[in-house]
C-alpha cells in the first residue's frame, strides 16, 4: 500500500510545480544585475595594494587606469604561470610615470579570470569590472589592447535587468 502512497505523492509533488514560477532567466532579454555589488569604482573585484586585501566583486573584464600604470609588468609575471595571457605592449602616447610607455595587453582567449594580476599590481591601476559579454567570432579579436582596456565596458543590445528577486536565478 505504501507503494501507491509514495507513488502518488511523488506525482503530486511534480504536478504542483506547474503552478510555481519558472527558473529560466531569458538571457538576451533579461540579464543578471552583476553591477555595483558593493559600489566600488570599477564595479568589480578590486585589490588594495597597501592593505594587501581585496574587495568582493564580480571578476569580469579588466579595466586599466593608464594614468597610474608604470609599466612594471608585475601583472605579466604573475600571470605567466597561470594563463600567460598578459603581454606588455608599447603605446604611442607618452606618460610621465611610464617611461617605457609599455602597458599590459590581455588576451581573453587564454585568461581564466582568476584576478591574480589585480593582486600583483602595486599601483592599484588594474581592476576588474562586472562585464562578462566577451564572446567574439574570431580569436584575434580576443586580444584587448591597453586603450580598449581603459574604456569602461557597456552591456550591448536592449535588455532589462533581472527586474526583481522573483524571476531568474535570484528566486527564493
Amino acid at each position: 500500500m505504501s507503494f501507491f502512497v509514495g507513488f502518488f505523492s511523488a506525482l503530486w509533488a511534480g504536478v504542483k510545480q506547474i503552478f510555481k514560477h519558472r527558473y529560466t532567466l531569458r538571457y538576451p532579454e533579461q540579464k543578471l544585475d552583476m553591477l555595483m555589488v558593493n559600489n566600488q569604482k570599477s564595479g568589480g573585484y578590486e585589490f588594495d595594494a597597501k592593505k594587501q586585501v581585496g574587495t568582493a566583486g564580480f571578476k569580469g573584464r579588466h579595466i586599466l587606469y593608464m594614468d597610474k600604470c608604470t609599466g612594471c609588468s608585475l601583472c605579466a609575471i604573475a600571470c605567466e604561470g597561470i594563463a600567460d595571457c598578459i603581454d606588455m605592449v608599447k603605446v604611442d602616447k607618452t606618460f610621465v610615470q611610464n617611461k617605457k610607455s609599455q602597458f599590459p595587453q590581455i588576451d581573453y582567449g587564454r585568461c581564466v579570470f582568476c584576478g591574480f594580476c589585480v593582486d600583483a599590481c602595486p599601483f592599484d591601476c588594474l581592476f576588474m569590472t562586472p562585464f562578462y559579454e566577451l564572446a567574439t567570432t574570431d580569436k584575434r579579436s580576443f586580444v584587448y589592447t591597453p586603450e580598449m582596456l581603459s574604456q569602461y565596458p557597456q552591456l550591448k543590445g536592449e535588455y532589462k535587468f533581472m527586474p526583481d528577486e522573483k524571476s531568474g536565478a535570484h528566486h527564493g
Partner: protein, 368 residues
C-alpha cells in the same frame, strides 16, 4: 550473485569515454546476458599532469591549476593545499578568514552535492530530478559568486587567508536562500528520495559492507554510508571547525540508497554549518599581508580536509625555493576506483549507472 566467466557467453564492450553514462572515463565491461561479469576501469582520458605542473609554478600560480580537477567543488579541493602551504610558511590564517573558508567550503559542498544529485537523477531516468537541482544550484552559485567573484573557480583561498572580505549584507541573503532551499528539499524528498521507483533502483544494490569499505580505501560519504562515522572535519578539525556543532550522517546499509541519503542529509548539515559560521564569525582582517614571492621553509607538510567527495590530501615537499619541489595530490575519486570493480561485478547491467554514479566518481578529478 556469483557469475562465472564461461568462454563464449560473454560480450565485452566499453562504456567508454564517449558515453552518456560515464563521462570522460572508460569502463571495459564484460557482460554475460544481463549480468556484469568483469569490469576494468580505464581512467586517464583527461590527465593533465597536475603534479608535474605544480613543480614549475610558484605557490600562488598553482592555485588556479589546483582548482581545475573538480571545478564545482573548487574551494573543497583547494583547502588542503592552502593549509599545507601555510604549515610550510609557519603562518596561521586569521580567525575571520577561517570562518569565511568554512562558509565557502560548505557552499561548494552543497553545489557539488546538487550537481551529483542532478546527474544521479538523469542516470536513473528521472529527468525532473535533473532539472530541479540544476535550477536550485544557481542559488548557491550566486552566493559563492558574491564572495568569490566568479561562478565556479573562485581562486579565493590563498596562503595566509582569503583574498577579500564578505560583501555587504551577505548574511541576510544567505539565510534567505537557506530558508527557501530547506522548503525545497522537502519536495526533493517526496519526488525522488522516497519515491518507490527510486527505492527499487537503489536499495540493497552495490552493497559495500563495513570491512570492505575500509579494506577498499573508500572515503567520504561512501564510507559514512557503510556505517563508519569518519569525517575529517570532526576527526582532525581544521580552520576552526571544532567550534561548530553538527552530527555526521551515518547509515548502516552501505547500498546506493544509503550513499544517496547520506549526501541528502549532508545538504541540511552544510546549511546549518553555514548558519552557525555566519553567527560565530568575528571581525578583523581576512589576510596576512605577504608581499612578493612566497618561499616555504625547507621540509615537507601534509594536510587533509573533507571535500564533497571524500578526504582530499596534499603532501608538499619544499626546498626553500619559490616553486614547490614536489606536490602529491590524493583525490577521493581516485580511491573509489578500487571499489568500483568490486561493487559492479555480479550486478545487472542496468544497475551500472546507479552504482557507478552512487560512488560520486568524477573522472577529471581521478585523472588529475
Amino acid at each position: 550473485m556469483e557469475v562465472v566467466d564461461q568462454e563464449g557467453r560473454t560480450l565485452t564492450f566499453s562504456i567508454g569515454p564517449q558515453h552518456p553514462g560515464s563521462g570522460h572515463f572508460r569502463l571495459i565491461v564484460k557482460v554475460d546476458g544481463d549480468f556484469i561479469v568483469d569490469v576494468k576501469p580505464d581512467p586517464g582520458y583527461v590527465h593533465r599532469g597536475a603534479e608535474k605542473m605544480c613543480e614549475e609554478r610558484t605557490y600562488i600560480q598553482n592555485i588556479p591549476h589546483l582548482e581545475r580537477p573538480v571545478i564545482f567543488d573548487s574551494s573543497g579541493i583547494l583547502f588542503p593545499y592552502v593549509l599545507a602551504v601555510e604549515e610550510l610558511l609557519g603562518v596561521q590564517a586569521p580567525p575571520r578568514a577561517q570562518y569565511i573558508r568554512i562558509i565557502m567550503a560548505e557552499l561548494n559542498r552543497i553545489i557539488s552535492h546538487l550537481y551529483w544529485l542532478a546527474i544521479y537523477g538523469i542516470f536513473l531516468g528521472h529527468s525532473t530530478m535533473f532539472m530541479w537541482p540544476m535550477g536550485d544550484r544557481e542559488l548557491f552559485i550566486d552566493l559563492a559568486e558574491a564572495i568569490g567573484g566568479t561562478r565556479v573557480t573562485f581562486s579565493y583561498f590563498v596562503p595566509g587567508g582569503v583574498r577579500n572580505d564578505l560583501p555587504p549584507e551577505f548574511k541576510e541573503r544567505a539565510l534567505k536562500t537557506c530558508a527557501y532551499f530547506e522548503k525545497r528539499l522537502k519536495e526533493y524528498d517526496r519526488i525522488f528520495f522516497s519515491n518507490p521507483m527510486f527505492l527499487k533502483r537503489t536499495q540493497d544494490i552495490g552493497v559495500l559492507k563495513r570491512e570492505d569499505a575500509i579494506r577498499l580505501g573508500v572515503t567520504g560519504p561512501n564510507l559514512r554510508a557503510s556505517g563508519i562515522s569518519s569525517d575529517t572535519r570532526k576527526d582532525e578539525p581544521y580552520s576552526s571547525y571544532q567550534t561548530i556543532k553538527w552530527d555526521i550522517p551515518v547509515r548502516k546499509e552501505g547500498d546506493c540508497y544509503a550513499r544517496a541519503m547520506v549526501r541528502f542529509q549532508e545538504l541540511f548539515d552544510s546549511m546549518s554549518i553555514i548558519r552557525q559560521a555566519l553567527d560565530l564569525i568575528p571581525e578583523g582582517s581576512v589576510k596576512i599581508a605577504m608581499r612578493g614571492q612566497i618561499k616555504g621553509k625547507v621540509g615537507e607538510s601534509f594536510a587533509r580536509t573533507e571535500a564533497a567527495r571524500g578526504t582530499m590530501f596534499y603532501h608538499i615537499i619544499s626546498d626553500g625555493a619559490t616553486h614547490p619541489y614536489r606536490v602529491k595530490i590524493s583525490v577521493p575519486s581516485f580511491r573509489s576506483l578500487c571499489a568500483m570493480p568490486f561493487l559492479l561485478k555480479g550486478n545487472h547491467l542496468a544497475d551500472m549507472p546507479a552504482i557507478y554514479w552512487g560512488l560520486d566518481y568524477w573522472p577529471v578529478e581521478a585523472d588529475k
